[in-house]
């Protein structure tokens, strides 16, 4: 016995009990092999990007109708306002110094590392940043929030008022870009001050908001565009629906209609905007579903019982659902659970279908050179075979011990099935593209070509409709907050601008028929929608030299392939250096990332907005309209590539067999993910949904020894109502405090000590006790046998409870109101010696930070070395003793 097993053995059986899960050594040993296979996949993706560079560029840098993101902006801002304002009752608890944390403690325990150089004030330590380097240290983030500096209730209410105004302005599209950024910054400030309340929905809001403010979503359905059109109309420079260009833009001469020496531009109503932010939103949506689908590996999901258990969680109970579980738990709900799981895993096919159809519509099918086409095919085939190799290698640690088939048989089945599938896929693709299948049945004739295949099987009809059904079920039956509404809102971004316009016109017609005033005449008459800015108009404008700096560009010079290859080479060198633990690994990585932008910047300075032409650069596809000039394209493509790579690395599934490369990869991309505020986790109801209802009770023993129940839980009889419309964050807080966030228990207890004192003439109570209460939800079979139950009765009969934390309010740190709080509440001040604070002075630590940093670095290097040695030993040990293994997580 050696390495990790010997270490565990040395610590004794207690260590095994203490460990959350026992790592599967066989799975751990597979890590390096799987890591190299994944790396090979990444190399092939880079090769595809180089070989198919024209389509990649055209996809990311194209322009599109702004109405899709305009509509998304409005709905998103609306649900964001609901999401933040449904915390109204808990605002002061969450975000002020009269809440969970006192101001100093919020800095120290919520963002301690970031505020390392920030003093508390008082004896020997000034309040605020110690010096400029402390400010720079803070600026590294990631928990940026004004509420870390000012968090009195007065300031907070001003803060929230500005947030409301900025978000409403963003919704209405007034100063859209500025208001969007302001609202985002203030939203992030709330999230960074108080992570305790956050759930998956908040992560959706955070990440999608970042993409949304990067877009020009104010170009449609906004006050900004209305003001612009009004101004242009007055100046006679707007292309009207009933005039030249019909709203899509036109070049006219002053003598009405004929071209002349001095053409005049009539601007379009809906100008084209860069499409890449919407594409990021779409891919993010796929990431959410794919991640959460892949994470659902538990037995409850495979048995089909997840919907049953989710509906029986009392914190999420919008309506009584026990009867549903009783009738449908063992039949229909299982079908629905499996359908949802299948749909989440397959949602990416919808985006694939959208991209394929777009490329065909735009005539961007294949590169012209035969060698490129063959190389591309080889890369796609390589990816398919690598996927098989990853499955082959990982299979031994993924089959249950009681599997009926042997490993060899399973491998044979998987490999054979996969090879047959990819062969059929390739042949079928070619067949549908070149020779569509015609089906005749009872005189009807159907043609199945690539377009209709993508429309039906990879189309939005199937995947969005399933998604809509899933989220509507959640919305109506479960009080789970704004997750379902925000996900449905994101579906708007799956429609293009003209589709959104058609839907809104239909809605307008229906409303007009119902007598609702204010509809435009053309909407009432059901005329064609206002067209998007026409590409012909853009090309003509450019040909006549009327284009302005911020407008789309036709066919500018492209980045040479050599620069792209050099950039990828730098990134690969950086990754390999990181694997080998070379100290300078970041340099080639940074150089590789910076190279395209630097080249584009040089081109911009020398050759103007269109860039310079080098020997191996080509012109863009004939007449293709790009959203930016040469430099803009370099910056945007670099941003997109870096972000996609970082999200991909961040999304590596958390398993024993990925541990060896997942952790280092996430460490590398972590600064990007946190500083762009796009860090994410989508392990919702995964690997299994929780099967217990957990509640939290808070009891106060006052100074006279009398016991009080504060009824803090969202589920307490005092707070619970049915049907339950408003989402109460206290449910999430309860589950966090009594579950994985145990460190919050003391802070909750201390908060209640302080609040009791402030509300009882300053008298600090004797103690605050937090009690956890829970019961296991009966299985679907038991429910079917026994009939539906009343949650309160079931809790009383089958529930358990235990004390999880008790704070002695007189002596516990931060359990007494400070004199500042007492003054604020008109209470007499007390001797400072009776107030115990949880914060520690930081000046001494800050002054010796060099020494500390050096120690940390040395310690980390030593730990890394030891861990690597242990891993090697564990790997050897695993291969020597391939016997009974704990199951793979």
């Amino acid at each position: 016995m050696s390495g990790i097993p010997s270490a565990i053995a040395a610590l004794g059986p207690g260590a095994l009990l203490a460990a959350e899960t026992i790592p599967n050594e066989q799975a751990l040993a597979l890590g390096p092999t799987l890591g190299w296979l994944v790396f090979a996949c990444a190399l092939l993706v880079m090769a595809i990007a180089v070989l198919d560079v024209e389509r990649v560029r055209a996809f990311w840098l194209r322009t599109e109708d702004p109405r899709s993101l305009g509509a998304f902006r409005i709905v998103f801002a609306l649900v964001l306002l609901l999401n933040i304002n449904n915390m109204w009752a808990h605002f002061e608890f969450l975000f002020t110094d009269e809440g969970l944390y006192l101001g100093d403690s919020a800095r120290q325990y919520g963002a301690g590392r970031q505020f390392w150089g920030y003093g508390l004030g008082g004896e020997g330590e000034a309040a605020g940043f110690f010096d400029l380097s402390a400010v720079l240290w803070w600026a590294k983030g990631p928990r940026y929030s004004l509420l870390h500096f000012w968090d009195s209730p007065g300031f907070f209410w001003g803060y929230i008022a500005v947030f409301e105004i900025a978000t409403i302005a963003f919704l209405l599209g007034f100063r859209t870009r500025a208001m969007g950024f302001l609202s985002l910054i203030l939203t992030l400030g709330l999230m960074n001050r108080s992570p305790i309340y956050q759930s998956g929905a908040d992560v959706v809001f955070r990440v999608m908001f970042v993409y949304l403010v990067l877009s020009r979503c104010g170009h449609a359905y906004s006050i900004d565009n209305w003001l612009r059109c009004r101004k242009l109309r007055r100046a006679g420079r707007l292309s009207e629906r009933d005039g030249p260009g019909e709203g899509a833009g036109a070049i006219v001469s002053d003598d009405e209609g004929k071209d002349s020496e001095q053409p005049r531009e009539l601007e379009a109503i809906y100008r084209r905007i860069p499409a890449w932010p919407r594409m990021l939103i779409l891919l993010q949506l796929v990431t959410i579903y794919l991640w959460t689908g892949c994470a659902k590996t538990g037995s409850v999901w495979s048995k089909g019982d997840s919907l049953y258990y989710a509906l029986n969680l009392d914190h999420f109970s919008r309506v009584p659902t026990q009867y549903f579980g009783y009738v449908f738990g063992t039949n229909l709900f299982r079908m629905m659970t499996w359908t949802v799981h299948f749909w989440q895993m397959g949602f990416g096919l919808m985006v694939l279908g959208l991209i394929v159809r777009w490329a065909r519509r735009e005539g961007l099918e294949r590169p012209e050179q035969p060698w490129r086409r063959w190389a591309l095919r080889a890369c796609w085939l390589g990816l398919a075979l690598l996927a098989l190799a990853i499955t082959w290698v990982g299979l031994p640690v993924h089959i249950p011990p009681d599997a009926k088939l042997s490993l060899g048989a399973l491998r044979g089945l998987v490999a054979g099935g996969w090879l047959v599938f990819i062969t059929l896929f390739a042949l079928g693709w070619r067949r549908l593209r070149d020779r569509p299948v015609v089906l005749r049945l009872r005189g009807h004739e159907w043609t199945l070509d690539l377009e209709s295949f993508c429309t039906v099987f990879l189309g939005r009809k199937l995947w969005l409709t399933l998604g809509l059904f899933f989220h509507l079920h959640i919305l109506v039956l479960m009080n789970i907050g704004m997750f379902a509404p925000v996900m449905i809102a994101v579906y708007i971004a799956c429609l293009n601008g003209t589709e959104v316009a058609v839907i809104l016109r239909r809605l307008g017609m229906a409303l007009a028929r119902l007598g609702v005033p204010g509809m435009a005449e053309w909407v009432v008459r059901g005329e064609a929608i206002t067209p998007t800015e026409s590409l012909e108009f853009i090309r003509e404008r450019e040909a006549k030299g009327l284009r302005r700096v911020s407008q789309p560009l036709v066919g500018a010079r492209l980045l040479p392939v050599g620069v792209l290859v050099a950039s990828f080479a730098g990134v690969v060198a950086g990754v390999l250096a990181r694997v080998e633990d070379v100290s300078w690994w970041a340099w080639p990585l940074v150089l590789g990332v910076a190279l395209p932008t630097a080249y584009a910047l040089g081109g911009r300075l020398v050759g103007g907005r269109e860039g310079t032409k080098s020997s191996d650069s080509g012109d863009a596809k004939d007449g293709w309209v790009y959203a930016y000039g040469a430099f803009g394209r370099g910056v945007v493509m670099t941003f997109v590539a870096v972000h996609l790579a970082c999200v991909a690395a961040w999304s590596i599934p958390d398993k024993d067999c990925t541990r060896s490369f997942r952790a280092p990869a996430r460490e590398v991309v972590k600064p990007w993910m946190y500083r762009t505020q796009t860090h994410q986790s989508w392990n919702m109801f995964a690997p299994n949904p929780t099967r217990s209802n957990v509640f939290m009770k808070v009891f106060v023993t006052d100074a006279e020894g009398e016991l009080w129940d504060l009824y803090t839980d969202a589920n307490s009889p005092r707070n619970k109502i049915q049907p339950w419309f408003i989402y109460d964050r206290m449910g999430k807080i309860t589950r966090r405090v009594t579950g994985k966030g145990k460190h919050y228990q003391k802070w909750v207890a201390r908060y209640h000590c302080r609040m009791w004192a402030l509300e009882h003439d300053g008298e600090v109570p004797e103690e605050v006790m937090i009690m956890k209460q829970w019961y296991r939800v009966p299985s679907p079979e038991t429910m079917r046998k026994r009939g539906p139950y009343q949650p309160e009765d079931y809790l009383a009969k089958h529930g358990h409870q235990k004390e999880v934390y008790t704070a002695k309010c007189a002596t516990e740190p931060d359990a007494q109101p400070t004199n500042e709080l007492r003054r604020r509440h008109g209470l007499p001040e007390v001797d400072e010696a009776t107030i115990h604070r949880a914060t520690k002075r930081r000046r001494p630590r800050w002054d010796s930070r060099q020494g500390v940093e050096s120690k940390v670095r040395k310690g980390r290097a030593k730990a890394t070395k030891a861990l690597r040695q242990a891993k090697r030993e564990a790997q050897r040990h695993a291969w020597q003793t391939l016997g009974a293994q704990p199951p793979q997580r």
């Binding site: 599109e64 499409a275 594409m279 309506v319 009584p320 659902t321 026990q322 009867y323 549903f324 009783y326 009738v327 063992t330 039949n331 959208l354 991209i355 159809r357 777009w358 519509r361 429309t455 189309g459 939005r460 009809k461 969005l464 409709t465 809509l468 059904f469 509507l472 079920h473 109506v476 039956l477 293009n496 003209t498 589709e499 316009a501 058609v502 839907i503 239909r506 064609a528 929608i529 049915q722 079979e781 079917r784 009939g787 539906p788």
Partner: protein, 49 residues
């Protein structure tokens, strides 16, 4: 497990919640049908990305 069709009858909140679920399915069926019809139709404006 043998399939049994003998169910406890819903009463009180269980009853209206049950009607809500059936109403939801009817509404979703109708909405789904409208969505499919619209996505199959060939109105103006291009489809897809």
């Amino acid at each position: 497990m043998p399939i049994s069709l003998a169910f406890v009858r819903p009463t009180g909140p269980d009853l209206w919640a049950f009607y809500l679920l059936i109403g939801l399915w009817l509404a979703m069926g109708s909405a789904g049908w409208l969505l499919l019809r619209w996505l199959w139709s060939s109105e103006e404006g291009h489809r897809g990305l």
